[in-house]
């Protein structure tokens, strides 16, 4: 009995350490976002202080408002996620279920695109987009994001599709359902967890992306990850504003995480236990 209690205490203690390590930067940003410039630099760091929303007011409605950047981030992330899922679900299904010539090669090709170091392809991407006049446009950035989110999504989804017993599909065919109808009505509801996980990851990657965004964006389309850097100027670091923008930028991701948590946990375990499947 005591041994069991001890074990539970140890698990809780270790979890707490991990949670603290994870929470600290977030908490730090959150607290600093509510401080004045003077309080941020105070030593010892102030835990009790008069909170102010001035930093938020400045970054949202001031002269260097990041509202347009948040809008840019949403358009890019949602656009990327929607298009990725529309293409990745049928593609993953095809790779998992159908027999067609060049299937192995196609599978490898999808994976190979993931192997290129991003820095190596940034100049070619820049030149291509420049050539078709898509620098600093939503379609340009979404197109580039698709180039890494699609293969990622397809490979993630393939394993979920492979986990579904083929007999379920057969049953649907026997009842006279077409392949597409089967996919929509039978298969997709089964891989809901996997789809949620994929949606969250694709959205997250697009939302957090910085390297391509900084090179391929401009004044018109500038996601919040890039705009955030403008609060570290050559003259000084605007700590309170930087913290406020960080919190605002983290918020959608955290909300999405909480919202999709149920699916994610389920999806991850499903993938982990039964992963592999036929290949």
């Amino acid at each position: 009995m005591t041994a069991k209690r001890l074990r539970i205490a140890a698990v809780i203690a270790i979890s707490l350490i991990f949670i603290l390590a994870w929470m600290f930067p977030i908490l730090w940003s959150f607290l600093n976002s509510l401080k004045t410039d003077k309080d941020v630099l105070a030593y010892p760091p102030k835990v009790l202080f008069t909170p102010t929303l001035e930093a938020y007011r400045d970054v949202l409605f001031g002269s260097a408002s990041i509202l347009p950047n948040l809008v840019s981030s949403f358009i890019i992330s949602i656009g990327t996620t929607v298009i990725t899922m529309l293409l990745a679900v049928p593609a993953a299904y095809a790779l998992a279920r159908l027999r067609f010539p060049g299937k192995r090669f196609a599978g490898f090709y999808v994976l190979a695109t993931q192997m290129l170091p991003p820095v190596g392809i940034i100049i070619p991407y820049f030149l291509v987009l420049r050539g078709i006049g898509w620098i600093d446009t939503y379609q340009g950035i979404i197109l580039i994001y698709l180039s890494f989110s699609l293969p990622f999504a397809i490979w993630l989804l393939v394993s979920y599709f492979e986990d579904i017993p083929f007999e379920m599909e057969e049953a649907a065919y026997l009842d006279g359902a077409s392949r597409l109808r089967t996919l929509w009505r039978i298969i997709i509801p089964q891989v809901r967890g996997g789809i949620s996980v994929t949606v969250v990851f694709v959205f997250l990657n697009a939302w957090n992306e910085f390297l391509f965004a900084v090179v391929l964006s401009g004044n018109t389309v500038r996601p919040v990850t890039v705009a955030m850097y403008n609060f570290i100027s050559v003259e000084q670091t605007l700590w309170t504003k930087l913290a406020a923008v960080s919190v605002l930028a983290m918020l959608p991701v955290i909300l999405l995480g909480i919202f999709a948590q149920k699916h994610i946990v389920k999806g991850l375990t499903v993938g982990a236990v039964k992963g592999g499947g036929r290949r």
Partner: protein
Amino acid sequence: MVFRSTRRTFLKGSVGASAMLLGAPAFLRGAAAQDNDLAPYTSAKIDWKQASGESITVAVIPASYFDNLISIAPQFQELTGINVRFEKIPPAQIRQKCVIDLTSKTGTYATHAADPMYYALYAANKWAEPLDRYLNDASLTDKAWFNFDDIIPAWRGADSVDGKLYGIPYDGEVTIQVYRKDLYEAKGLKPADNLEAFVANAAALNDPGNRIWGAALRGVAGAGQNMYIYPSIFREFGGEWFKGGKLTVNGPEAEAALTWYVDLMRKYAPAAAQNWNWPDIADAFSQGTIGAYIDAHSSASVVNNADKSKVIGKVAYARWPKGPSGKRVTSIWNWGFPINAALPDKRKKATWLFIQWAASAETQARTSYKFAGPAKRSGVNRTSVWKDPAYIKLMSSFGNNFVEAAMDSLQHDTDVDWRPRVPQWPAIGDTMATAIQSALAGQATVKAALDDAQKRIEPMMKG
């Protein structure tokens, strides 16, 4: 030369001062509303409208001195009919983005805030236009009006490669000693005249138990971070970058210089300073925890920021301490504007008109002491503005000896060979910066760090 705003020089000064007297009421009004009279520009004997209808994009960094320029840019559009669009890019990315633009010859940015150490690379690849052609073309430049020689010579020199000009300085800085005059006075210290005295001052003030550290210098790795300060120390110790035509970074002078840097930082700077960049030093100094630092004169605005500083009224300035070689070598910087060589001819002209407008004495004044907003620019590019009593008065609020220290350093302490100006600089700067930080952090001995850097740099110079 020392510029002091006494009543006598104020009255005696000929053109500048009398213009100032006449302009005084306008200046007072200027505090409320931005001066937008185009007459000071139209007096130039050039056709400002010759490139009317062109559109140019200018890449700048987020900084108050560019914000001021952006806010009066509508005046430029009215004057020239050229549509100018600014893009703000963080300093760490502007180099990368502009080099991509220049290599691909896409002409996205007509001009950009350029790192002076990149001109050698631009020139070697013909990415930027030599500017003498524009400067000497009477249809494009009214030489008497633009008065190019008025622009601070050290910055002009930094924007030239082999005597050819590639960029026009817009805003710049010079490194000086910044110290706590109250702490110095309490201990009977004087601002250091040589590097030894700088260490001795730091030792006298160092009291970590009471959260006062003697001194701090930039420690974080970066071609523009610790490799901005180290070259000055290296040169003050008598170091030469090129020995018999070969770039050498591990000679005895280098060892002595880096040892000095490491000792100072280890003994008298906060432990975290090995990862600090200039804003961190200025933040710490503004909280009263640092006795002295050597960094950009422009950091004065941070340590004097009423919103967070606790040391206002306690700050004074001095030139770099002398090194064992007897020289003072300051580190200088400026954001200059080059012309992208990939532009069509007419757009090049439009870009030149923009550069001429931005670097002109009038625009420099309108973005600094005549600016209607709160931001005080301390890096104006012109000697005449630095001598202007209104500007001196504004700058003197930063503390004792500010204008004198900055101007004397710019005139006497600059060194053309301060950093090795070669096209390979970006890679060399990064390699050296990593070596310096590893020595500061104690991951390698001074000798091992420098020898390793030398080994890495040699193949770069062959390529």
